[in-house]
Subunit: 224 residues, 2 copies
Amino acid sequence: MRARLRAEMTDEIKVIARRHLATDGANLSLRAVARDLGVVSSAIYRYFPSRDDLLTALILDAYNALGGSVEAAEGAVDRADLTGRFLAICHAVRDWALANPHEYALIYGSPVPGYAAPSDTVPAATRAVTVLGAVLEDAARVGVLHDDERLPADVAAELARVGAGVAPNAPLGAVGRALGSWVQLFGFVSFELFGQLNNAVDVPGPVFDHQMRAQAAYIGLPTP
Amino acid sequence: MRARLRAEMTDEIKVIARRHLATDGANLSLRAVARDLGVVSSAIYRYFPSRDDLLTALILDAYNALGGSVEAAEGAVDRADLTGRFLAICHAVRDWALANPHEYALIYGSPVPGYAAPSDTVPAATRAVTVLGAVLEDAARVGVLHDDERLPADVAAELARVGAGVAPNAPLGAVGRALGSWVQLFGFVSFELFGQLNNAVDVPGPVFDHQMRAQAAYIGLPTP
DNA sequence: CTCTGTCAAGAGCAGTGCTCTCGATATGCG
DNA sequence: CGCATATCGAGAGCACTGCTCTTGACAGAG
């Protein structure tokens, strides 16, 4: 009972903090949140030991929101349509990022100095890439992925580590190409959101879609 | 004479600010810089109208430093070795970023909220990508680049805009693939620097080199 | 009914960006 | 050379920040 009030208060703080995040960016002011909540600043410390802990909670929520979006979008696609599932993942990431730019910046932008993400954010952060791993794994089971024989030993070792986590049965060459696509996906979204595409690409949407389709083919996913 | 003292003071402020940037991250404290300089905080305002203007100066310097590194690295490679020039660019970007992580975060990380980069940073920001454009242009002149006939009209239009700035004679398909490589390059560096590769890739160097070699081949640069 | 634990409020500390005023000092002009 | 002017650093001060500590009110348990 008392615990439920506490949970409601915690949620309300996070909601208002998210709203401030959307308007004022990453430099979140505890006092401003407290003002909006009609409460004195020190009261916030009853629920979050420090501003960094509030940020950590928001980061965790952001990772889970993104992961949930990706899971939902990919889950709505026919299991046999591997390229469609891949594209659903890519667009889910971009759409979520465009809808929540500051939360995206919070988790994929420059890390807050002096702030080290606690290790309990790792599982939440892994949710999205796990979905890609499942697509890769399904593609490997169907046998459409080809390998790359010319992998240097150290590269192969690293890719094996990467693949072991998300797609243990995919050929290493495909893991490498998928890693490149993953990096390109977030590189594109970051460029678009952080203004690096200004004076270059006016309407990024179609370009993004085309790039990701090309990546699907490059990974080796069948073109429907 | 008076002007030279002023220039020296301005430089000294930027040097100390860069040092603070390297230790404390992006939340640069004017007062701390003033303390290190043995001067009262308000004196800084004689040289920079605001903290944002100091940041802008640092951003401009960072863009130019990165651009200079890229130009130097690419310039040291035999003109005929197109893939070598491409790889030199990629490694120059990553090496500079690893050597100056906070300055990299300043220009390619999440933008400071409420801060809009003035338009005079654009030419400096363009220096690096211009070098890639020159490689692409040389490759087009030699005739090694192939096009992609299946470009949707809107994508082709955007790629034409991109290509017009840096490599007007390269086929649009190659421009698109190069754009993808560029995005992947910075995506990789950002992932590595911002800790997104933790728990996945231990030694990113060889993986990076392999990915960029694959990109060179994907763009269509000749494999030596 | 008392005791205990939880809560918000308020004061206060050290730090921040920024503005303003006030002397000191150097520069350029007559 | 002498003076007016422009530039400079120092200092005080404002409004704000995260955070700590103490104080007093209140609800639930025994």
